[in-house]
Structure formats: structure tokens, C-alpha cells
């Protein structure tokens, strides 16, 4: 029996082979114990503060919004060690790994950001990391592969299937079903089987909590909307969690529209509206009429996932959160705008959220306050964006 609720409305659950149930139960118990253990909390908060650099700043944009009476704030997860929000929950799960007496960590990565975060946490805490990465992604994300290897992680290219993130998750699950005795599967997003969506949300919850405190201090009131990009949905759920019970704050998730959601080249699982089971959880997924999982596509590798975390599916259906999509072109435009107007180079993932927030700001009434979760920095995307914009860009 589960001790925490494994479902979000109809969504979520534990659709995994029976063999993995004991490992998931062990994780659930370790997580519950850790949440009630002041020593664990102290260690986690200590790492977040002294190693990762929390709390992260909240920046009011100066030049980006044309209406001076509309305020657009950026929650600066890009300033976190590792370059993205992912470090938060990875540190939490790495501590859980030690708590369970396990010495090895398995992880999947698409763009390499979760892999890098896993590698750094494992280096710090003396855990042995092996990271599955689609063979195509290994080629496309060479700098992150090098980063992971520098920090002592083993990077394993996955050739099966399409050689991208979903196949890396498959391979990590396969590994785990043989190694659960000694290894923890450090899943990188708020998806997958219970208890991962809950654990990942709670280990990212400080994003929203800090945002609330910072905006109260600066503005004396809650924002009108918080906006975050949604691939699997970890940065968005981290931003949303503390605001779900504050109905005056609009929650907006931005899915990757790729080349347009009318094409097959996108990663907007909710926009297509089809439900199913992928990687252990019931949620919105991208699939063909026979139930075979489709390839997702996005200019941003971190959003390139053909499903979405189950709590987002639930927030979508209940209407508590709104989900929209932003195309590659719109995201690339926002990427450049933020660089040019504010001197901040955002990750392509975060650029999706920013692009939609800018649209919202254009249409907003006076005195509107919007917060964008700037979930990561764009260093990792420079070569990719340069290849799209052209090497002679700006000359």
C-alpha cells in the first residue's frame, strides 16, 4: 500500500513492472522519513544555501516591457550552481540515495542539464553516477557530456529506439530493474511513477516559496501570474506548488510548440489532448492512433519530451493552471530580446516561458505583476542558437 497519494485526480500512478514496486516503496518511505527528519532538512538546506547558492535573486526587468506600469520579474534559477533549477531536487534525491544506503545513481538526460546536475551532486556526495543519454543527444550536447565526465560520471549513449530522451528513460528503468539493491534512479523531472512526481515537486517547492516572499517584500502583494516552461514539468511545478492554494495567482505553463502544434514537430503533450501511460505514469502523452509513443520535437532539448508530469495534467483539467504553447521561433526571439535588453542570456527552455510572459505583458492592464521562472541560463544553448541565427549574426 502507498503511504502518500500516488494519484493527481485520474493521473499519475505506478505503471511499472511488479519488480520495481519494492524500490519505489522504499523510496517513498525514505522520502517520508527524511521530510520528518530535522537533520535531513538541515543538510539539504545547507547544501542549497552554501553550495548551490539559494535563495536565487528576483530581478525586475528594466527594458523589456513597453508598458511602464506592467512589471515583469524574473526568478533567477539561471544563477543556481549548475546553471538551472535542476540542482535543487538532484541534491535532495542524492541525499535520499545516501539515506537508503545506496552507493550508485542512475539518471537519464536529454540536453544534459539533469545529467550535469546529477554528476555534480554525485561528485560532491561520493556517489557513483551512470547517466543514460540518447546517442543523438550525446553528439548534439558534447560540452555537457564533457562536463559530466569531468565530474566523474559515466555517460552511456543509448542507441535503442529513437536515441533521444525517452529512450534514455527506458534504458535507465531497465538498468534500475536489475540494480535497485544498490542503485537509486534519480529521475530528472516531475513525471514517472509515484513517488517521483511528488518528490521532485517538493524538492523544487522553494522556487515558488522564495518567489512569494520576494514579491511580498518588493510589491507587498502576490503576483497576478507566474509563468514557467513545461517539458516534463519540474521547474513549473516547483514554481506553482506554493501558489496552487492562492487562487488570485494565475498559473501559466508553456509547452514547446516546436514548428507549430498543427505540425507533428512539437512537444506540446497537453495541447494535443491525448491521454495514456508512458514511463510509469498516466498523463497527457504524444502517441499515434495505435498507442505507440511519438517522437516529440523542440528547439529546446530540455522540453523535448512526449509526455508531461501527472500533476500538470490534473491542474490542466481542473482549470487551476492554464497551458499554452510557444513555437521555436517565438522562443528564439525572446532568447535574443532578453540578452539584448537586459543582459541576461536565458536557456531556450526558459525562453518559452519568457516569450509567453511578454505576450501577456503586452496585453496586460496597468499595475499587473508577472513572474517568469527563468529556469536556466543559456550558455549550453549558445552553439545551437548560433548555428540557427548564423555565424555572422550581428555583424
Amino acid at each position: 500500500m502507498n503511504k502518500l497519494d500516488p494519484k493527481f485526480g485520474d493521473y499519475g500512478g505506478m505503471y511499472v513492472p511488479e519488480l520495481l514496486i519494492p524500490a519505489l516503496d522504499q523510496l517513498e518511505q525514505a522520502y517520508i522519513d527524511a521530510q520528518n527528519d530535522p537533520e535531513f532538512q538541515k543538510e539539504f538546506i545547507g547544501l542549497l544555501t552554501d553550495y548551490a547558492g539559494r535563495p536565487t535573486a528576483m530581478t525586475l526587468t528594466k527594458n523589456l516591457v513597453s508598458n511602464p506600469k506592467v512589471k515583469l520579474y524574473l526568478k533567477r534559477e539561471d544563477l543556481l550552481h549548475g546553471g538551472a533549477h535542476k540542482t535543487n531536487q538532484v541534491l535532495g534525491q542524492a541525499l535520499l540515495t545516501k539515506r537508503m544506503g545506496k552507493t550508485e545513481v542512475i539518471a537519464e538526460t536529454g540536453a544534459g542539464q539533469h545529467g550535469v546536475a546529477t554528476a555534480l551532486a554525485c561528485a560532491l556526495l561520493g556517489l557513483k553516477a551512470r547517466i543514460y543519454m540518447g546517442a543523438k543527444d550525446v553528439e548534439r550536447q558534447a560540452p555537457n557530456v564533457f562536463r559530466m565526465r569531468l565530474m566523474g560520471a559515466e555517460v552511456i549513449p543509448v542507441n535503442s529506439g529513437s536515441g533521444t530522451l525517452k529512450d534514455a528513460v527506458n534504458e535507465a528503468l531497465r538498468d534500475w530493474s536489475a540494480s535497485y539493491d544498490r542503485a537509486h534512479y534519480l529521475l530528472g523531472t516531475a513525471a514517472g511513477p509515484h513517488p517521483f512526481p511528488t518528490i521532485v515537486r517538493e524538492f523544487h517547492r522553494m522556487i515558488g516559496e522564495e518567489t512569494r516572499a520576494q514579491i511580498m517584500e518588493k510589491e507587498g502583494r502576490l503576483p497576478d501570474a507566474v509563468v514557467a516552461a513545461v517539458g516534463g514539468g519540474s521547474n513549473a511545478i516547483g514554481m506553482f506548488a506554493d501558489f496552487i492554494d492562492s487562487p488570485e495567482v494565475k498559473l501559466v505553463g508553456v509547452e514547446p510548440g516546436g514548428k507549430g502544434i498543427h505540425t507533428h514537430m512539437h512537444g506540446a503533450a497537453m495541447a494535443t489532448g491525448s491521454k495514456g501511460i508512458l514511463h510509469g505514469t498516466y498523463s497527457y502523452i504524444m502517441q499515434d492512433e495505435n498507442g505507440q509513443i511519438e517522437e516529440s520535437y523542440s528547439v529546446s532539448a530540455g522540453l523535448d519530451y512526449p509526455a508531461v508530469g501527472p500533476q500538470h495534467a490534473h491542474l490542466h483539467d481542473t482549470g487551476r493552471a492554464e497551458y499554452v504553447s510557444i513555437t521555436d521561433a517565438e522562443a528564439l526571439n525572446a532568447f535574443q530580446l532578453l540578452a539584448k535588453k537586459e543582459g541576461i542570456i536565458p536557456a531556450l527552455e526558459s525562453s518559452h516561458a519568457l516569450a509567453h510572459a511578454l505576450n501577456m505583458a503586452d496585453e496586460a492592464e496597468d499595475d499587473t505583476i508577472i513572474v517568469v521562472n527563468l529556469s536556466g541560463r543559456g550558455d549550453k544553448d549558445l552553439a545551437h542558437v548560433q548555428s540557427i541565427l548564423g555565424v555572422n549574426f550581428g555583424e
Partner: protein
């Protein structure tokens, strides 16, 4: 009496265990697949475990993943698989046929719809690889409604709660995992199966068939000696398909030989 019950009664009278090969329906294509399955039957398979190809098979090792990809590349759909079984059933009225697939293929037409179609195609049992007992309730209900046995998996690490649930809900047979990990002939079954078989007996589970890592006649013999009602061999069977993609005649000859050898090992001393 169900086809599984009849099979186990017949085998008990003959003092034999069951040999159950697995192949992927539609691998390497639908026509050859039908010939392959018929060859397995004609050479002594007691029951069949048949896969429906899925794009993301998390419980399967490379051999069965590749079989699924070969079938999907040929455009094989779940409906085409069930149509093939219907055809197979016309000439093979007695052999128990089990489906092994992943949950998303069931969710597409809806649990109810899928089980109805499967029953119509003459399927005796369904095993959904990524549905553990904890999520099994609606699947068990549909199985009951359409007269299909829902196959449950007994892994070596299962809790007492899981064993009790298997005892309560298992029907047809119980799929006993010989080891952790995913399917594949590379890693042999390692568990002393007798302990798990005894546990399953204690909870009155359906007869245990041992699977995962079974590729040799000695392993079939060992499984039966340990008290299992038989053994399932998937990757070793599929390997013979893969090794002979260019020569169907040779493929069928090798499969026939393999099944005869494995079946011969089911004779109890």
C-alpha cells in the same frame, strides 16, 4: 474448464511440465509470424506467450526490443495482431494463447474495449508488463468480465502483501520471475526457484511458469525440478528469428528443433 486448466491437467497425467515459447506477433512480418507461431505449436509448445509490439518496452532487453521494432517497422498494429490470432484460433482450438503487452496499448481502445477484442480473438490470458498488482484493479475486472485470465507476475523481491494479492487474484498461471532485470537470454535465471514456488503454493496461486533468462533445456528441467509447472522462453526463441531473417525456411527449422529440445526437457523423472 479453461484451456490453461485443461493443459495443466493433461500435463499432470503425462507427468510433464509445460514449455511455453514467446515470440513477438508481426516479427519479422505478419505472414512469417503466423508461420512461426504455427511451427511452435506443431513442434510441441504447450501454450503460447505472444507479444504485441510497443514503441517503449521498459521490461524488455535488446532482443525483444528489436523484435518489436522489426514489427513496428512493418506497420504492425494491435488490431492486426488480434486478427492474426483469430486466424490462428480457427485451426488451433485447444492451445492456450497468452498476450504480453504494455499498458498504453490497452488504454488506447480502453481497458474494456481491448479485453473485449482479445476475447473475441480467442485469447486466454493477458499479461500487462507495466501494470503491477497495485494498478491492476480495472484490468482484473475487465478480464473477469470477458472470461480472460489476468496473468500476474511474481518477482523474486515481492513483499508478502504482493504474494497474498497474487494468491487472491491470479488466474491461468503465475509468471514467476527467475531473476531481476529485463528479458534476455544473456543473463541466466539465478534464483533458487523452489523457495518462490513454495511461497506461491502457500497462497494458492495459479500454477507457476518460470520466465526470464530461460534459454536451455537444462534450465527447463531445473525449473520443473524446483516445482514450477513449466517454463517460458522468450529471448532465446526470438534470437532464432533474428538470426535467420534472410532465410525463413532455416528459421522455422531451427525454431522447430529448439521447441522439441525444450519440450523434451519437461519430462519429469
Amino acid at each position: 474448464m479453461s484451456r490453461y486448466n485443461k493443459m495443466f491437467t493433461r500435463l499432470a497425467a503425462a507427468n510433464q511440465g509445460a514449455f511455453v515459447p514467446f515470440v513477438m506477433i508481426g516479427d519479422p512480418d505478419l505472414d512469417t509470424s503466423l508461420e512461426i507461431i504455427q511451427t511452435l505449436i506443431d513442434n510441441g509448445a504447450d501454450a503460447l506467450e505472444l507479444g504485441i509490439p510497443f514503441s517503449d518496452p521498459i521490461a524488455d532487453g535488446p532482443t525483444i526490443q528489436k523484435a518489436a521494432i522489426r514489427a513496428l517497422d512493418k506497420g504492425v498494429t494491435p488490431k492486426a495482431c488480434l486478427d492474426l490470432l483469430k486466424k490462428l484460433r480457427e485451426t488451433n482450438p485447444d492451445i492456450p494463447v497468452g498476450l504480453l503487452l504494455y499498458s498504453n496499448l490497452v488504454m488506447g481502445p480502453g481497458i474494456d474495449g481491448f479485453y473485449a477484442h482479445a476475447a473475441e480473438a480467442g485469447v486466454d490470458s493477458i499479461l500487462v508488463a507495466d501494470v503491477p498488482l497495485r494498478e491492476a484493479k480495472p484490468f482484473l475486472a475487465a478480464a473477469k468480465q470477458y472470461g480472460i485470465d489476468q496473468i500476474l507476475i511474481a518477482p523474486p523481491n515481492a513483499s508478502d502483501e504482493t504474494f497474498a494479492g497474487i494468491g487472491e487474484h491470479s488466474a491461468g498461471y503465475t509468471y514467476l520471475l527467475g531473476r531481476a532485470g529485463v528479458t534476455g537470454a544473456e543473463t541466466a535465471a539465478s534464483m533458487p526457484a523452489s523457495e518462490l514456488v513454495a511461497k506461491l503454493r502457500d497462497v494458492n496461486a495459479a500454477p507457476a511458469l518460470l520466465g526470464f533468462g530461460i534459454s536451455k533445456p537444462e534450465q527447463v528441467k531445473d525449473a520443473i525440478t524446483a516445482g514450477a509447472a513449466g517454463a517460458i522462453s522468450g529471448s532465446a526463441t526470438v534470437n532464432l528469428v533474428e538470426a535467420n531473417l534472410a532465410n525463413t525456411e532455416q528459421m522455422l527449422a531451427q525454431l522447430g528443433h529448439f521447441v522439441r529440445e525444450m519440450k523434451a526437457a519437461t519430462n519429469k523423472a
